[in-house]
């Protein structure tokens, strides 16, 4: 068992990262924080709009985009690949919306079909087109650790100069700015699209703008946390905050707090367990979610039993008549 879980050594876990390994911790933490914060900000609306799994879909279907970008640009240059992934992400959301709107297929099935088909297409393309040696794993699994490795005397300066940091930071600023500027539009179109439409806010446009942001966040996070763990970073902070508060503003603040503490907690957990930091961040986030789950009491409902019944019945399959 000692091999499995290293003994807890407070000095190694808490002191070393901030003393002898200071610069590496700073590098990793700053990147992880930026990613976690952008994801948490957009995640709030995903959870409220019941579209959490779109993050999963986009992260899978980025593969064909990356392959095609690789074929077109002929380089492994991360900028080109990011653009490819981004376009694929947007195509995914458009396709999902198209299938969902133009047929009786439900949203969840549309998501599942679109992403699995696009992923299959990506794998097939890799095999079909000669001279690609892209590895799906390589593309979709990121390593936060690599960003912590440094050689220069002033690692932070080198970090700020790196294109990857600039991309992530830009995405973060954009997400934060849009969140602040369009808070009320996002709020009203998520809560009551009819009212938003009646007030002339164009909920469809807001939906697609949000999907673009989501693609951007997911794709830019690939290198840092990988395709699958970014889903957790989208959903966990929002879900945790959602259990603890009844106000969107507080929810956003709490989700940011969750993102920050699970990032820092996760990095220390990773030092202790000697495991990948991104996975540990998710585990820490899950832990905080469980705490919130434990302490949260379901708001007392006076009348809503009927309402719940109603919504449950509504969700039943009306098209499918028992014969």
């Amino acid at each position: 068992m000692n091999h499995l879980i290293p003994p807890f050594d407070a000095y190694r876990v808490f002191v070393e990262p901030w003393t002898i390994n200071l610069s590496q911790t700073l590098l990793m933490t700053s990147i992880a924080l930026i990613v976690a914060l952008s994801a948490a900000l957009i995640g709030n609306y995903l959870v409220l709009r019941r579209m959490s799994m779109l993050g999963d879909a986009i992260s899978h279907s980025a593969l064909p985009g990356i392959v095609i970008a690789f074929l077109v640009s002929g380089s492994r240059d991360s900028f080109a690949l990011t653009i490819g992934a981004l376009v694929a992400g947007i195509v995914t959301t458009v396709l999902i919306e198209f299938i969902h709107r133009r047929s009786i297929v439900k949203v969840d099935a549309a998501i599942g079909i679109v992403f699995s088909m696009l992923f299959a297409l990506g794998v097939l393309l890799i095999e079909l087109v000669p001279h690609t040696d892209l590895d799906p794993d390589c593309v979709l699994f990121g390593q936060l650790e690599w960003l912590g490795v440094h050689a220069s005397s002033d690692p932070m300066k080198a970090l700020f100069a790196s294109s990857q940091f600039q991309l992530l930071f830009g995405v973060f600023i954009l997400t934060a700015a849009l969140n602040l500027t369009f808070f009320k539009e996002l709020l009203v179109s998520s809560f009551d699209p009819l009212l938003a439409g009646a007030q002339g806010f164009r909920p469809t446009f807001i939906h697609y703008a949000m999907m673009c942001m989501l693609s951007l966040v997911v794709v830019s996070a690939f290198e840092a946390v990988g395709a699958i763990l970014v889903i957790a970073m989208l959903i966990l902070p929002a879900a945790t905050a959602y259990l603890l508060t009844n106000r969107l503003r507080t929810m956003i603040t709490l989700s940011i707090t969750h993102a920050v503490i699970s990032t820092i907690g996760g990095i220390h957990l990773a030092v202790w367990l000697d495991c990948p930091a991104s996975a540990c961040m998710v585990i820490a986030g899950t832990f905080f979610f469980c705490i919130a789950w434990f302490i949260h009491t379901r708001p007392s409902r006076q009348v809503d039993d009927t309402q719940e019944t109603e919504s449950l019945t509504n969700s039943a399959e009306s098209e499918l008549a028992p014969h």
Partner: protein, 267 residues
């Protein structure tokens, strides 16, 4: 067809030959109404008669398949700020993390435009609206902690905060307690006395008579429109509620089924 208002008055809402279709299946046929200010109008009819559809079309949330709608003599979309809408309660997610105050403030968003945030004045207006519906003590509550009647009052307060001239309400009396019902109706009458116009989708025949000035009887088409006393006749009600005209609904089904008859096909 009788027009309950004198022609000299400004017309708040006018629809002409309004036909609305859901997924190309017509739900409303050729509706003609014109409503004068200061009216409390009930919209009544059996289930599936197109009551909510009419309201959504007036709000510009549904594109009419034929005919037109004018609000204050102009296109309905340009007059959005003058129209307030109270949706059915089940149309929103009551678990959404917003407080009563937040919801009422949403009523101000249409006036704020894209970049502005609600300011002190908006808050005052929202408070005032809450006061009118006796919901001030609940201002900080999350909306899922409210009873059905309270939720309805919140929606009403939101509509009040919109400071509109035309109010469209979709079944505000469904699932609310008697106290709320009387609060709401008092408020509506108060609004009417201020010269506002209110259209209310309503279900209950007995109360309709005492609540409204005029009634729109719908059953896919306009059965009757006029002052309550005129409309409240056995024969008209029978026509609205006594089953849809079978052929009309059959044809509606047929158009829905063959959905692609282009309704605007060139003649």
């Amino acid at each position: 067809m009788t027009d309950p208002t004198s022609p000299s008055q400004e017309i708040v809402l006018e629809t002409h030959d309004l036909t609305v279709a859901y997924d190309k299946k017509p739900v409303l046929y050729g509706i003609d109404v014109s409503i004068a200010p200061g009216q409390l109008v009930g919209i009544m009819g059996p289930n599936g008669a197109g009551k909510s559809t009419l309201i959504k079309a007036i709000m510009g949330l549904l594109e009419p398949a034929g005919g037109w709608i004018q609000i204050f003599g102009e296109s309905n979309k340009s007059q959005r700020k003058r129209v307030a809408y109270v949706p059915q309660r089940r149309e929103v997610d009551w678990d959404f993390p917003v407080t009563v105050m937040d919801v009422v403030l949403m009523g101000r968003y249409g006036h704020l435009g894209l970049f502005k945030r609600p300011g002190k004045r908006d808050r005052d207006i929202a408070m005032e609206a809450l006061e009118k519906v006796n919901m001030i003590p609940y201002a900080g509550r999350q909306i899922s902690n409210l009873s059905g009647g309270q939720q309805q009052r919140v929606f009403l307060a939101r509509a009040l905060a919109q400071e509109s001239d035309l109010y469209l309400m979709d079944e505000p009396f469904v699932g609310v307690d008697a106290a709320t019902e009387s609060t709401i109706i008092d408020l509506l009458q108060d609004l009417r006395s201020q010269g506002k116009t209110i259209l209310v989708v309503h279900h209950d025949l007995p109360t309709a008579r005492q609540y409204f000035d005029s009634l729109i009887l719908l059953n896919m088409r306009l059965v009757a429109y006029g002052p309550v006393e005129e409309v409240f006749q056995e024969e008209l009600l029978q026509r609205a509620y006594g089953g849809r005209l079978t052929i009309l609904s059959e044809v509606a089904d047929a158009t829905g089924e063959k959905s692609k008859v282009d309704l605007s096909a060139k003649r």
